[in-house]
Symmetry: C2
Subunit: 200 residues, 2 copies
C-alpha cells in the first residue's frame, strides 16, 4: 500500500498529542462528565483501546490535559504580574487567575478538582520548567509585599485561597454575576484585598 495519506496511516504519528488536544476540546465542550475516552479516540480516528498505548488509564489522560492547563495559567499570571508593580501587580495576578477560571471553566475544574477527586493522589502540577510556575510567581510577589502584620507564606496562601475561592464560587454560580460583572467583581475584590494586605 504505502499510501502517504496521513488520514489512513496505521500509525497515527502524533497520537499522544492528538489525544490530549481532543480531550481538551471535548472537555471544554461538555465538561468532565461528558468526556469519554472512547469518544476522544473516535475523534482521533483510532480504536477505543489505542489511547492505552500512551496513557495508563483515563485519569492519566486527564492529568496530561490538566498539566497543559497549569502551564497556561502560569503564563497568564506571569504576564499579569509584569503588567504592574507592587500591590497592583498582586491585584492583577488575582484578576488574571479568576479570568482564567471564567474563560476555561471545565479545564479549571479539572485542574483543581478533577481526575478522581478527593485528592486521589495523581494531581498534575504544571511543568514549571520555564520559570512560569504559577505558585512561584505568586509567592515571589507576596514576599515583596509582606508587612509586619502577616508572614510572606501566610500572605501567599491567603491571596491564593481568596482568588481560588472566588473563582470557584463564581463558577458554581454561588455568586450571581454575568461574565462581564464577574471580571469587574474579581478586580474589585482583589484590589481591595491587596490594599488591605499592603497595610492601607
Amino acid at each position: 500500500m504505502s499510501t502517504s495519506d496521513p488520514e489512513r496511516a496505521y500509525h497515527h504519528g502524533e497520537l499522544r498529542g492528538a489525544l490530549v488536544a481532543a480531550a481538551l476540546a471535548d472537555l471544554e465542550a461538555g465538561g468532565e462528565a461528558g468526556l469519554s475516552l472512547r469518544a476522544v479516540a473516535r475523534a482521533c480516528g483510532v480504536s477505543a483501546m489505542a489511547p492505552y498505548r500512551h496513557f495508563a488509564d483515563k485519569d492519566a489522560l486527564l492529568a496530561a490535559v490538566a498539566e497543559r492547563g497549569f502551564d497556561d495559567l502560569g503564563d497568564r499570571l506571569a504576564a499579569a504580574d509584569a503588567s504592574a508593580e507592587g500591590a497592583s501587580a498582586l491585584a492583577a495576578q488575582g484578576a488574571a487567575y479568576v479570568a482564567f477560571a471564567l474563560a476555561r471553566p471545565a479545564l479549571f475544574r479539572l485542574m483543581f478538582m478533577g481526575a478522581g477527586g478527593l485528592g486521589a493522589g495523581g494531581r498534575a502540577e504544571g511543568s514549571c520548567a520555564d520559570g512560569s510556575c504559577a505558585y512561584r510567581i505568586l509567592s515571589e510577589r507576596c514576599a515583596a509585599l509582606a508587612g509586619p502584620a502577616m508572614s510572606a507564606e501566610d500572605l501567599t496562601l491567603t491571596a491564593w485561597s481568596l482568588v481560588h475561592g472566588l473563582a470557584a464560587l463564581i463558577l458554581d454560580r454561588r455568586v450571581s454575576v454575568d461574565a462581564a460583572g464577574a471580571e469587574a467583581l474579581a478586580r474589585r475584590i482583589t484590589t481591595g484585598f491587596a490594599r488591605l494586605a499592603a497595610g492601607g
Copy 2:
C-alpha cells in the same frame, strides 16, 4: 402473605430517606465517582429502578444529599458564630467552614462542585428555613464588622472566598498539611484575615 416483617415488605415505607442516607454513606466512603445509583438501591434492598419513583435521575438524588449538607454546614457556622464575638466570631466561622470541608470532603465537593459540574443549573442551596442559612450567618457577621475600607457586601464575599478557597486547596492537596495542621492553618489564616478586615 401480609407478613409484618419490614425487611420483606414490598413497599419500603421510607425509601426516599433511606436512599439519601445510603447515598451519603457511599459518597463519604468512595467519593462521587464511586457512587452508583444501582449500588445505592442495592444497599436499600430495592431494585435498580425503584429510586426513579422518588428522584428524577441520579443528579436529583445527589442534589438532595447536597441539600442536607448545606443544612449541616449552616448549623455548624451558627454554632461557631455564637461561640465568640466581633472579629473572633468571623475567624471562628472561617475555621468551622474549613473544618466542615475537611471532615466531610466528598460531601463538601458534592455541595459545591457536584451534580454535573460546570454550573449545570441544578444546584442545591439548603433549606434555610430555621435561620441557619449559611450565607446569612456570614453576611450578618460581616455587616457588623465592615469598616470604611470595604463594603459589607465585599467583605462578605472576600471572607467566603477566602475560606472556600482555603478548604478547596487543602482538599485537593495543593497545600500539604496533615489533618491537625490543616485545622491550625485554617485558624491562623482566618484570624489573620479577620484582624486585617477589622482594621488592625
